[in-house]
């Protein structure tokens, strides 16, 4: 346990080593929020407007909620795994008495803590500047369900990111391309990170709900906003859990196959 605590500390310090990188990343997050905030403010100019089951208060909460959830779910250092596979640096870890998955999971947690702290500061500042009406969920049972869905979302994203990065075992030069397609584009859009998924036709929503993506951001936010309740929450949590199980199996299988193929190029 102690070695992972040390990894956490080192990883945290490392994030501060590239301060400009980090600040720019946060600035970019804020710019994205500004775009969506003004877009939805324009749609819901009249506070009485209700579209797609959202009113002004709930849609602006969705926009601000995305900033926090992105920090919790999407902040991850495991993006560097593909690079380590292609340049052979992963060999060092295979020889050390640490679990490679636990190592990256610990680094991810450090990144999440740092990003979450900053996103809270940013939200406070944006709240003071933009003065939006936000929806506050007070039901403790609902908040507990949000918490559970978030834990599942974090594990889901870790699996998705790791599986994508492991494509570098088979295409060492294109690990980053796979990441661009599956993480930056597909996961970001289909998780509800760019717009709420319930503006889409019902058929598309149903198809999406059978994939792991909505359970990353959209589902936890729907619970928080009270847009789904009771059995729907339980059904969603079960599906999310099932996806965690399936992806963990795929991760284990891909890792075993990938290691057999790995030939430590560049070492």
């Amino acid at each position: 346990m102690n070695k992972y605590l040390q990894i956490f500390k080192l990883s945290f310090q490392q994030e501060f080593a590239y301060r400009l990188n980090f600040i720019m990343w946060r600035v970019r997050n804020i710019l994205q929020i500004i775009l969506t905030f003004f877009l939805w403010s324009s749609v819901f100019k009249n506070p009485q407007t209700e579209v797609f089951g959202y009113n002004q208060e709930k849609i602006l909460t969705y926009v601000f909620g995305i900033l926090i959830l992105r920090a919790i779910v999407f902040s991850a250092r495991a993006v560097d795994v593909a690079g380590e596979i292609s340049n052979g640096a992963i060999s060092n870890f295979l020889l050390k008495p640490v679990s490679y998955f636990k190592y990256w999971a610990t680094r991810d947690v450090a990144s999440k803590v740092l990003n979450l702290s900053f996103s809270v500061i940013e939200i406070t500042l944006l709240f003071l500047i933009l003065k939006p009406n936000l929806f506050l969920q007070t039901n403790l049972v609902v908040l507990f369900a949000v918490f559970i869905s978030l834990i599942l979302a974090v594990v889901l994203f870790f699996c998705l990111l790791f599986i994508t990065n492991m494509s570098a075992f088979w295409m060492p030069e294109n690990g980053w391309a796979a990441q661009f397609l599956f993480i930056v584009i597909i996961t970001d859009f289909l998780s509800g990170g760019v717009f709420p998924l319930d503006i889409m036709p019902l058929v598309l929503q149903k198809v999406l709900y059978s994939t792991p993506f909505p359970y990353l951001l959209f589902f936890p936010l729907q619970i928080y906003l009270g847009k789904i309740a009771g059995l729907e929450i339980i059904r969603g949590l079960i599906t999310s859990f099932a996806w965690v199980f399936i992806l963990l199996m795929i991760l284990k299988f891909t890792w075993a196959k990938g290691l057999r193929r790995y030939s430590a190029e560049g070492r």
């Binding site: 710019l31 584009i185 859009f189």
Partner: protein
């Protein structure tokens, strides 16, 4: 005229080399192309679904909002196609390899700005242009409005060129390129929708100070008959001034180049 021919020839050779390098990595090319197309269609779908529910966005109907979006993509894609080399400028400065660019008998700015056209963007330009003109045609513009649109799109590209030159100049002075260009791209993304959705003072800021509005929203407004001839002339003058200032800044930055590491 002779000079233009020479530079066109050089540009064609550099672009051919750049295309060949990309074609060498066919998997990456396909993945990036699919990614770019998916992103475009996700946003396109979003606008269609949104406007089906709300009927209008900041007073614009579906076709008008789509025209803003397509114009944004057109200017973004063409500038990415032309100015992709800017993204590869930092290693040249850091390693001192820029010395070799300076010693060649062509403009160092030309080489640094347009030396590596992007084939992925080139593939998407043609269908994007057809889609833009199709949607624009649905708004029944007059010949004058269409002329204004084309002029303002070209002006948008001139402003994009000026921004990329500023980024290059900053790169020489501060060795920082990646973040500056990404911040520029994020600000530019604010033009994906009509700038009328933004409130003051942000709207003024992105119209005049970082002229995303002039680059993207003004051309679309011109085709909708919402721009006066004076407004068009003023926008063109602004674009010209910005380009002039960017050249001045480049010359200033060039004098600061220390040829470190070479």
């Amino acid at each position: 005229m002779k000079n233009i021919k020479k530079y066109l020839k050089v540009w064609l050779i550099m672009s051919k080399n750049s295309f060949l390098a990309v074609f060498n990595q066919r998997t990456a090319l396909s993945v990036f192309l699919i990614g770019k197309l998916l992103r475009f269609f996700f946003f396109f779908g979003f606008i269609v679904f949104l406007l089906k529910g709300t009927k209008s966005l900041a007073g614009y109907d579906l076709n008008q909002t789509l025209l803003f979006f397509l114009t944004f993509n057109l200017i973004d894609t063409i500038s990415q196609f032309l100015f992709r080399e800017v993204y590869r400028f930092r290693p040249l400065i850091v390693s001192g390899g820029f010395d070799l660019v300076l010693s060649k008998p062509i403009s160092a700015l030309f080489r640094s700005l347009m030396g590596g056209a992007d084939v992925i963007d080139l593939i998407t330009i043609v269908p994007l242009t057809i889609a833009t003109f199709y949607v624009a045609g649905l708004l029944n513009p007059s010949i004058l409005q269409t002329t204004f649109y084309i002029l303002l799109v070209l002006n948008g590209l001139i402003i994009a060129a000026a921004f990329h030159i500023f980024v290059l100049g900053l790169g020489i002075i501060s060795l920082e390129i990646d973040h500056t260009i990404m911040i520029y791209r994020d600000l530019f993304n604010l033009g994906r929708f009509p700038i009328d959705i933004y409130k003051e003072p942000l709207r003024g800021f992105i119209t005049f100070l970082i002229p995303i509005g002039i680059m993207v929203s003004f051309p679309a407004k011109a085709i909708m008959g919402m721009m006066s001839p004076l407004g068009v002339i003023w926008s063109l003058a602004f674009g010209g001034l910005l380009l002039f200032l960017s050249f001045k800044f480049w010359n200033f930055a060039l004098k600061k180049y220390t040829s470190a590491s070479s």
